[in-house]
Amino acid sequence: MSFPNENPKLPENINNSYESPLVDFLSMAAVLLGVILILTFAIGWSASWVGPQIPRNWEPDISLADTGLSEEDLRIEAYLQNLLMQLTARDISAQDTPSGDTNAEPIAFTLHYLPEVDVANAFATAGGNIHVTAGLLRAVESENGLAMVLAHEYAHIELRHPAILMLEQLGHTLLYAFLGLGDNGAGAFAQSTGMTTLMSFSRDMERAADLRASDLLTAHYGHTAGASELFRHLLEEDEVEEGRATSSWGLWQSHPDTQERIERLESSYDYRHKKGGEADALRSLPDWLITTLELNSSE
């Protein structure tokens, strides 16, 4: 065995890969995003299909309501419950329920009034719970405007959206658990892709609820005038807080664009053609309610 005089010059790229790291990275990211996109769509679609099949009494009863409401607040809560009962009562026989089941029983719901919350908001949670904030009551101008919001939340419950959302969240969580992705790096990248995809399902649900709500309004009042009151209010608030409206990217939002919702509502036949031809078609909110709200807001 002879001892070498010098070290050999070995070719490069035996022990390191020759390919460009960027090309390598982008192709891997594309594969991952494709998989996530397909799986998230699969989760969204299957949740929208399975959700409505789940018996309503399986839904957990989730509500964020305060327990110790004052007598005034209880009166408001009862008024809201009553208003929504009236709105949905006419519709019991309706053939256009999503299930197409003409013998469908009216769907039970419980209204909760949130007197401490100044932000105009209403939301439905699992178990047929509808929450309405004090800020929302101040934001609407007529009974019709309020009815639209209540009917919208009722539509969410009727269309089983809380159940569908819970299934989507469950599927989403399981997906990332199976993929073993954490919150950092590629995991965060994948999760935001998944969430963006699910947001498109959420926007579809909002549109469906808007549509259903205007049907309920038409059935009750004969028209949908006043339905866009809350959205107009939200739009004005956005304009006051400059930048908020422009910084909201359509793709990342859980709700459709407010302007789009206003246009959709106001362009409908029922909005423009008030059946019965009453000049003053909007019903005002009861005086006691307005007085109570004003008193509470000045405190």
């Binding site: 070498p4 022990n15 990275f25």
Partner: protein
């Protein structure tokens, strides 16, 4: 917001990581050429012609950190499988750099050759479990130095 932070870290990691890597490789290749005449062999017994030389331990050690881009690329690889190119270059650079440092030490001692060369590799840093860590490579061998009495 979290996504923007992620994207910024990714781009910074890529740019700086690539810059550091191409500079390092350039330097490695230059120094390997310069020290080519100092043979490095892994055999455990010194060659007969150098039996009269004195021997001394020489070591070279290096610690190199992973950059953010490499971490993300590797975590993507984890899902798909295949060669983790991002880490291959890292380990390759660390091994060659450690060997070079050992060779430079031997050269400073006036050695004719280094034999019985071994490598040790270990990971460093608490974040290593999450993929953000550093790697240490230690190369050591026995330098054969012409004895002064000869």
């Amino acid at each position: 917001m979290g996504f923007l932070v992620f994207l910024t870290l990714l781009i910074l990691g890529y740019l700086f990581g690539r810059l550091a890597e191409s500079r390092h490789y350039k330097s490695i290749i230059e120094r390997e050429d310069a020290l080519r005449s100092l043979p490095l062999v892994p055999i455990r017994i010194p060659p007969p012609e150098l039996m009269k030389h004195e021997s001394q331990l020489v070591t070279g050690s290096v610690v190199i950190s992973v950059d953010y881009f490499k971490t993300v690329a590797a975590s993507l690889r984890q899902l798909i499988g295949g060669r983790v190119g991002a880490y291959e270059t890292l380990i390759d650079r660390a091994r060659r750099e450690a060997l070079l440092r050992m060779q430079e030490e031997a050269n400073a001692l006036g050695a004719d050759a280094v034999y019985n060369i071994k490598y040790e590799t270990s990971r460093i840093g608490d974040n290593a479990g999450k993929g953000l860590g550093s790697v240490e490579v230690l190369a050591y061998g026995t330098a054969l130095i012409p004895s002064a009495s000869k």
